[in-house]
Symmetry: C2
DNA sequence: ACAAAATATGTAAACGTTTTCTTATCTGAT
DNA sequence: ATCAGATAAGAAAACGTTTACATATTTTGT
């Protein structure tokens, strides 16, 4: 008889349960809980306590469906164990906490296929916006995404052929140029470069910086001093090998990324070469280990956390604008890299490290 | 007249649009797209092409609501820039890709409040399960969560007072014990320990290992040789300071974590002490920099990626079981740490590093 | 050749919210 | 006293899927 009083099996409690217990309609319950619309204090209190008593948990999928919004953003990065990306992710996570977004994370490992499914998933999931470090491939897919006015901000890299899109970047050519100019300034003339992927805008920009620095100094560039075409460690190892076995090897090495730098640094030592005595060394992107090695390594540092943080700030702004129907034109935010001089570079003639302001302890 | 032919303003295309265009009912369209239930090949093809033509994207929130499942898991870790956790996260992400789960990420920074909101969000979002590195606080909340039969697997740490829950762990006391036993074995008698948070099971277990090792060797432990009570870097710095200014300072230092180890390693050098000449050094948890420093540092290494990977494997298994209604009893999977000997420890009497199998190059 | 089983499709009822209408009551201001 | 507006609460219609049920057609085993 009172069978329907005992809750039937596994059904979880919904807002109608709390409405019932509080003795109000579901509409009122909804208003009381969300705080939107009118609800008397007495009722508010009653339904709140009912919710608490019943251990009510809002069903977000239902809400998301109804309000056509998820308060969720998607984050697509290439690799979470690379400190560059984990710091970047840290920036967006912190900002997400502040702004009340949840974040759905996808990693691509630089694989266009994984990128494609990640993007598809996020789109299906109806995230409010996407922050992505693109692989550089899948151009038509990305273009399609922006055409469907998905809120999107690219970070770290752009996509060639997909122009009208927000992006927060660092000035890679300036950073690379600064590093090479510095090496030239202390006397180096044969500077080997371990290049990153030429299908990414960062990879390209960094070699551009290499060129620019040489041009400014009226120096020629020897093509065989530029090796490698991927951010992959193996590619870095091969590139270093190629540089070191040149008839006339370089006197300094510039690695295009922290990963490339790490394998190069290890490989150089494994060959028994002294840094900076035999070979000067510098790399793009700082990394936790760079300050701990002996010698510590000079780097061009990027504002990694900020990259992520302001990406979400920008994305949030776009989301708000879209809600209010006044979309603004896409913009590019470009941040400044910083040359951090430590102990891994020496003037060409001398054999002991030079002293730089703030370098070495 | 044919006004209704032009799609009205911003409405996004739904499955009824594709059903209409394919000339079938929505039910058939759903079946054709999902592959569940009957649908002739001809129809399948027709609705697939209709979907493609219209750029149809399934609305996941709607589906999630209907099927009461999200294919999403929640991952709560303390900090994404710590390599230990980023590798762990990497493991679950890889597994998620294989198994078709999306992952919603939350970081706590060891803050119980952040942990509480992260958990609340995940519960509301109706994730199929949760993998968490708990702060150790919020015990009642966690207990509540497991009571509401949320699928949960703890990783790295357990929660005191919340016993009946799956967990994948590493044998922390064994790892710490191995490290200390090794130090004792090469002659050290005063071994300083920089302790982690005693409110975590790992922090506790590692001091337990310290005790065990001393006990096995019939050695007393001096309380002032154990300093610190947090995984926070500042705590580590203070602890090291305390150890080094002891009337009779230790001859070796054991740091309870990679973070603690990093600050200790830097601080020791900053004080001008030679490792391992003046002081032997070892830490719990390997880290990318540990192999790159001079000297490279010996560690007790944990299977970080596996930790994450098998956590999700286990969680997935639990999710399947729950679906089939045959829930199994919670289990603990404990993995073995590994002592990796490098160059940072020397026998007490001698002054040059001993040679170990596989250590040093 | 016929019943039974398999295949194919459509109808309509959920899933748990939010929100737009109503309708009713309560405030002051005139 | 009356009216306009604010406040309070309910009824019901979405949001976009999936799926149980019903029905019709085809295949299969005997």
């Amino acid at each position: 008889m009172n069978q329907n009083k005992t809750r039937r099996s596994k059904k979880s409690i919904t807002i109608v349960d709390v409405a019932e217990r509080a003795g109000v309609s579901v509409a009122t319950a909804s208003r009381a809980l969300s705080g939107r619309g009118y609800a008397s204090d007495a009722v508010k209190e009653r339904v709140r306590r009912a919710a608490r008593d019943l251990h009510y948990r809002m069903n977000a999928p239902a809400r998301n469906l109804k309000v056509q919004r998820t308060n969720t953003i998607g984050l697509i990065i290439t690799n979470i164990i690379n400190p560059f990306y984990s710091h970047l992710a840290n920036g967006v996570l912190d900002c997400a906490n502040e702004l009340g977004y949840r974040v759905l994370l996808g990693v691509t490992n630089e694989d266009p296929d994984l990128e494609r499914v990640s993007l598809k998933v996020l789109l299906e999931q109806r995230v409010d916006g996407i922050i992505a470090v693109p692989t550089g491939q899948n151009q038509t897919l990305w273009r399609e995404a922006v055409d469907m006015h998905t809120r999107l901000v690219l970070v770290d890299r752009e996509i060639q052929g997909v122009p009208q899109v927000d992006a927060v970047l660092v000035d890679n050519v300036k950073g690379a140029c600064a590093a090479i100019t510095y090496l030239i300034g202390i006397g180096h003339r044969r500077i080997g470069m371990i290049c990153g992927s030429s299908s990414t805008t960062t990879g390209k920009a960094r070699v551009q910086g290499y060129y620019d620095a040489h041009q400014s100094a009226n120096l020629p560039v020897a093509p065989d001093l530029m090796q490698g075409d991927s951010y992959n460690p193996d590619s870095g190892r091969r590139a270093l090998e190629a540089l070191l076995t040149l008839p006339e090897p370089p006197t300094a090495i510039f690695a295009s990324s922290n990963i490339l730098g790490e394998v190069a640094f290890s490989a150089i030592r494994a060959r028994g070469l002294q840094i900076p005595g035999d070979l000067s060394f510098i790399m793009f992107d700082d990394s936790p280990w760079a300050a701990l090695t002996t010698p510590s390594v000079s780097v061009v540092s990027q504002p990694t956390r900020s990259l992520g943080y302001v990406s979400l700030k920008l994305l949030d702004q776009r989301i708000q604008e879209a809600r209010q129907g006044n979309a603004q034109a896409p913009m590019k935010i470009v941040m400044e890299p910083e040359l951090i001089l430590r102990e891994s570079c020496a003037p060409l003639s001398g054999s002991r490290p030079v002293e730089f302001a703030g370098a070495g302890r």
